[in-house]
Each structure stands twice: as structure tokens, then as C-alpha cells.
């Protein structure tokens, strides 16, 4: 199981090193092992947003943390892709520039993975290929409606 862990860890680390700069438009990040002994070791994260010194994860901002976490999730996903990936408002803390890069990365991975993204962000809505609306016209009762993306953007 030691070798299995080692190969899983390094595969995820390779994806993480690749996806992080795509999400941040630069910078670098990687995982590291906290102990020499593979059986006991924990896994830490080093992240360096573009132009900044290497930061302890706790010092990152709200948006930087969310983007780093998305990079982690997508790296695990690349190793062992499940039939679909569901993301519930992960773009909430992001500014427009980061939302656009997030969308780029999702669009790129959607060639081999099916994404279902819950969002209130109009930029993310525009990236999707299909929108499914949920309404509660009748109080307490959810219904599904088809949504025309132009409608949403104009109503903004």
C-alpha cells in the first residue's frame, strides 16, 4: 500500500502543479509530505499566488483559498474521474477575473468530465452549455423550468 500511496500522491501533485497556475494566471503550488515515513506522513500544501512570496495557506485570502481548493479537487478528479462533478456555488468568493479563469479550466476539463454547477454568478452562467432553472412560484414547492441565458443576463 506504500507504493500505491506514493503513486497516488505524486499523480495528484503533478495535476495540482499544472492546474494551480491556470486558475491563478501564474504563480505555483505543490503538495509536500510532512514526514519521511510514507505510512505516517500527512500532506501539506504550499501555494504561491503570482507575484507573492510563498504563503502559509492560512495567510491566503478568501478568494485565494477557494481557488486553491478548486485546484485540489480537480487534481484528485483527474486521477480518478467519476462520471460527473457537482459544484455548489464554489464561485461565490471570487472576483470577475478569477471567475473567468475558473470557467476556462472547467470548460477545458468538460471535454472528458460532465459538470453540474450551481451558481448565482452571471459570468459562470454564460460559460455553461445548458441552464436548468429552479423556481418556487408556489411557496414551498420547487419546480424545474427551462431557462434562456439571454433572459437572465438582460434581467440583471
Amino acid at each position: 500500500t506504500k507504493n500505491r500511496f506514493k503513486s497516488t500522491y505524486s499523480a495528484i501533485n503533478d495535476s495540482f502543479k499544472e492546474i494551480f497556475p491556470k486558475l491563478f494566471g501564474g504563480g505555483k503550488a505543490e503538495l509536500y509530505l510532512t514526514e519521511k515515513n510514507l505510512l505516517d506522513t500527512g500532506i501539506g500544501i504550499i501555494a504561491k499566488p503570482p507575484g507573492k512570496k510563498i504563503a502559509n495557506i492560512a495567510a491566503l485570502s478568501g478568494g485565494e483559498k477557494a481557488m486553491t481548493a478548486v485546484a485540489m479537487v480537480l487534481s484528485i478528479f483527474k486521477l480518478n474521474p467519476s462520471p460527473f462533478c457537482m459544484l455548489d456555488e464554489v464561485d461565490a468568493p471570487l472576483d470577475d477575473a478569477n471567475v473567468l479563469r475558473f470557467c476556462e479550466v472547467i470548460k477545458d476539463m468538460s471535454k472528458s468530465v460532465q459538470f453540474i454547477v450551481i451558481t448565482h454568478n452571471k459570468l459562470t452562467m454564460e460559460m455553461t452549455e445548458q441552464l436548468s432553472g429552479v423556481t418556487m412560484q408556489e411557496p414551498g414547492v420547487s419546480r424545474l423550468v427551462s431557462v434562456d441565458i439571454e433572459e437572465i443576463i438582460d434581467a440583471a
Binding site: T8, Y9, I12, T34, T41, G42, I43, G44, I45, A47, I57, L60, K65, A66, T68, A69, V70, V73, I76, F77, L79, N80, P81, S82, P83, F84, C85, M86, L87, D88, E89, V90, P93, S110, K111, Q114, F115, I116, V117, I118, T119, T124, M127, T128, E129, Q130, L131, S132, G133, V134, T135, M136, E138, P139, G140, V141, S142, R143, L144, V147
Partner: protein
């Protein structure tokens, strides 16, 4: 294997039979606060076998059944079905040759759940077994609930290790 449809009825605020059709590779789900978007995620976790009420944001496992509104009585049962297209034969094992896979869970007000695999009754374990190795499950990293994304990077190193091992 692609997700084609999600059918819900009597599950949380989706009291009426409702079907989400996934026609493309990126589907956005939109709507006002409190309209039922995150309930869709709960429905998917539930049909995949989630047994903890807390993980379904509910104060009791039976409370995932529609509990009524100002103008409707509570429902008698909840039912959720996921329909997959398996024409690329991605699933291994005995279901390899099926071109369509449907998993369904129905729960009555007494809390008893019945699971179905392509309309045949089966056990919960049969459902979780199908997805073994594909990374899909009620608590899998491929379903990110609302508000928890940053926990991934705030986890302690020994917890992050467990997380990554589960994924392998």
C-alpha cells in the same frame, strides 16, 4: 458513463415529479435563494446511499420526505432516480453490457428505503458497489456542497492524507 437524467418526487421541496435532463457536459443550475438548488445535490447524495441526516442538512432521515407547505400536506414517500448512459461500457462487472443504468431509491414515511437497479430491487450495497473504483459515492470529492470548498485547504495534513487516500 454519462449522467442523463435525475428524477425526483416527494424529496424535500420537490414534491411534484420533477426531471432534470442533462443534455450537455456543463449544466448550470440557477434560481433565487431558497428555491431548491442545493436540495438537488442532496437528492443525488441520497440516491447514492447517504444514510446520515446531518449530511443531508436534515434533522432526521425521514425528514427528507416533503414535509408540507402552507397549502399542501406532507408527502407519503420520497423517490429519486438517476439515469446513466453506459453505452461506452465504462462500468465494469456484471453491468458492463447494459447500455443504460438506472439507480433508484424510494423511502416511505416509516423510514424504510428500497433500492432499485434497472427497476429490479436490490440492496444498498449493490448501488455502492457499482460505483466502486469510479470515485462516485455519497461523500465523494466529486460532489462539493455549498460553503465547504475552502475546507479542503484548511484541513490538517493528516486529514488531507486520508482524503487523498480515499480518492485513490
Amino acid at each position: 458513463m454519462k449522467l442523463k437524467q435525475l428524477k425526483m418526487s416527494g424529496f424535500k421541496s420537490f414534491v411534484e415529479p420533477s426531471t432534470v435532463v442533462f443534455k450537455s457536459n456543463i449544466t448550470g443550475v440557477v434560481g433565487p435563494n431558497g428555491c431548491g438548488k442545493s436540495n438537488i445535490i442532496d437528492a443525488v447524495k441520497w440516491v447514492l446511499g447517504e444514510s446520515s441526516a446531518k449530511n443531508l442538512r436534515s434533522d432526521g432521515i425521514v425528514n427528507v420526505i416533503f414535509n408540507g407547505s402552507t397549502s399542501r400536506k406532507p408527502a407519503g414517500q420520497a423517490s429519486v432516480e438517476l439515469l446513466f448512459d453506459n453505452s461506452n461500457g465504462r462500468l465494469t462487472g456484471e453491468y458492463h453490457s447494459y447500455s443504460e443504468i438506472s439507480i433508484k431509491r424510494v423511502m416511505s414515511a416509516d423510514g424504510n428505503s428500497t433500492y432499485y437497479l434497472n427497476s429490479t430491487k436490490c440492496r444498498r450495497k449493490d448501488i455502492t458497489d457499482i460505483f466502486l473504483g469510479t470515485g462516485l459515492g455519497p461523500r465523494s470529492y466529486s460532489i462539493i456542497e455549498q460553503g465547504i470548498i475552502s475546507k479542503f485547504v484548511e484541513a490538517k495534513p493528516e486529514d488531507l492524507r486520508i482524503y487523498i487516500e480515499e480518492a485513490a
